[in-house]
Symmetry: C2
Subunit: 196 residues, 2 copies
């Protein structure tokens, strides 16, 4: 598009980012070249450092630079409770609530047969190993409440129940601060069934 | 968010891309780390190469790796016609039509007082120098038909007319293939006024 193979190569490379097509990639490349060459160096260095240093925690599978992440190393946590989440962002959301003091396992994905993502592609065997270490008595499934997240919870839950663990799922119900009139029917129906 | 300063640094760096907030940046970082480490190296190298090698063409101001770009070096073009565009993407669109065989000048931006972008921030003095080289007799303003593009065309057009050049603007009218019923009123009004 520009008279430069380096610009074309940059546009092609930026298209590898998720959700970025050729128009967005061109806009990014032109913006960086015209207004923010400093950011180009910064992004390049951050990519190289992360690619070289970031690995998966041996215990919980999250991203970390150490063999075991700081949450797994925190000995004051309740070792009988293990919370299963899809991503580090989900784990961060749960941590911010301050309502859970057990350990986590981060799947780094969800079952999605349509995208060819099966049990082997998300760390399910690693999860089973972790959950059956003897200390864990309850596994809390905190995958998302989407079709894939529910399917993932179902598959994991069934397998762990068969191995003798207590398996629970985050409660479904009416979100805090909402008016019933504006809550969708599926959520109200779940809240009725799960009333307490 | 993750247990890794390298991941956090990567998310911060990716936020420097235009149109990318913290949610998109996290999604990009997690996707790359989990599924596409290869792309991380590729994007990093492309950024560094482009930052090091891409400069502005001395004649037309577009991105190029040589002192003068290949379009400006093409001696078979009509040196009496100079087409002013906002970006290399706009130039590429005009080239694809095959309807213009003159030279270009790429502003690499547009006047936008609200964003603090004045005449000095888009290469206007370089354009005047280029347009007044003696060979150019007609300047065709092909900035976008947005508020900023129109203002840019007005400012450049007035200045070049005062210096004795013929200044024209791309025609406004009904797009090819469209039905009048679905064309906006402003466009139809322009097409009526400019009827031929």
């Amino acid at each position: 598009m520009a008279d430069s193979s380096a610009v074309d190569a940059l546009i092609e490379a930026l298209r590898r980012l998720p959700g970025v097509g050729v128009k967005s990639a061109s806009r990014m490349a032109f913006h960086l070249l015209q207004h923010d060459r400093d950011a180009m160096q910064r992004i390049a260095r951050a990519l190289q450092e992360a690619a070289a240093e970031v690995r998966h925690c041996e215990r919980c599978n999250t991203f970390t630079e150490a063999p075991v992440c700081s949450v797994c190393l925190d000995a004051r946590r309740d070792a009988t409770k293990l919370c299963v989440v899809e991503t580090p962002a989900d784990q961060a959301a749960l941590e911010r609530t301050g309502a859970f003091r057990g350990y986590y396992f981060v799947l780094m994905g969800k079952l999605s047969p349509l995208d060819g993502i099966g049990p082997k592609d998300i760390g399910i065997s690693k999860l089973f190993e972790r959950a059956l270490d003897g200390a864990v008595s309850e596994v809390i499934l905190a995958t998302n409440f989407t079709a894939e997240g529910e399917a993932t919870a179902h598959v994991i839950g069934e397998a762990l129940r068969q191995r003798g663990l207590t398996v629970t799922r985050l409660a479904r119900g009416v979100p805090a601060g909402s008016e019933l009139e504006y809550v969708d029917l599926g959520t109200i129906a779940h809240a009725l069934v799960d009333r307490r």
